[in-house]
Amino acid sequence: MTSADTVPSDSRGIRPSAAAHATAIARRGLIITAIGLVGLAAMIVMVQLYTPTEARQGLAQKIFYLHAPTAWSTLLAFSLCGIAGGLYLWLRDPRLDVFAESSAEVGLVFAAMMLSTGPLWGKPIWGTFWQWEPRLTLTLLEVFLFIGYRALRGAIVDPSERARYSAIVGLLGLALVPFVHLSVYLFRTIHPQPIVLKPSAPSLPWDMLRTLFVSLAVFTVLYLGFVTARYGLGLLRGTRKADHAD
């Protein structure tokens, strides 16, 4: 089954071409990305002008509004990659494999942001860019696992074999996500514990919490835009390969 076989009919019962369907998805993704970029600019203005500076940490604390949302988007992307991979193994729908590949790529982009903002926040607060402690080490392992996922995809030519093997690696990445999130509770670590995603009420003043929610929304929109556009691109590539195979 190719992605061309799985294009649904529209409300009039007309079956649009697979390429047109994929183009529409890619364009929708780029529009959502543009909305996310406007949101990012607005969020930066909000952080700089309307969010108070934390007294003990100074301006470096404002890295928090980048670091926490990029970590959220990274783990969201890797989790959805694993879920899509698991669903692929069950349903064998190639669109799920295309989505998993897209989410893994986008997850690595957010991981690059998370891994650059973390050390820039750590240096002035902890006195060091990096610590080999559980949260940071597990996060790095998670990122390495998805770099391996990308390498594996590039190494296997047969599409169904590639989808099967990479789905298993994606599921392993999904299994690691709870350990990354809970590592601050499970092990002795210098990394702060969650201040929002925890059983009790968030431990931030409202001015800061509001900015955090805005930045979480912005990076979620950016994830949706990126992954939709990348998924459309994957479908477009699939239709071209299917056309060449005919």
């Binding site: 183009t23 930066i44 890295i63 982009v109 942001m113 071209r240």
Partner: protein, 41 residues
């Protein structure tokens, strides 16, 4: 006693510049790849 706020704005500026650059470059890369793919169709 009033304590002074630490002067570490450079780290914040670096973080915001790096994240903005990564987001913009990836968005541009996606748009370029989609455009090229559409031309090859």
């Amino acid at each position: 006693m009033q304590t002074s706020v630490p002067a570490n704005g450079g780290y914040m500026v670096a973080a915001y510049v790096i994240v903005s650059l990564i987001v913009l470059l990836y968005a541009w890369s996606l748009a370029r790849r989609i455009h090229r793919e559409l031309q090859d169709q």
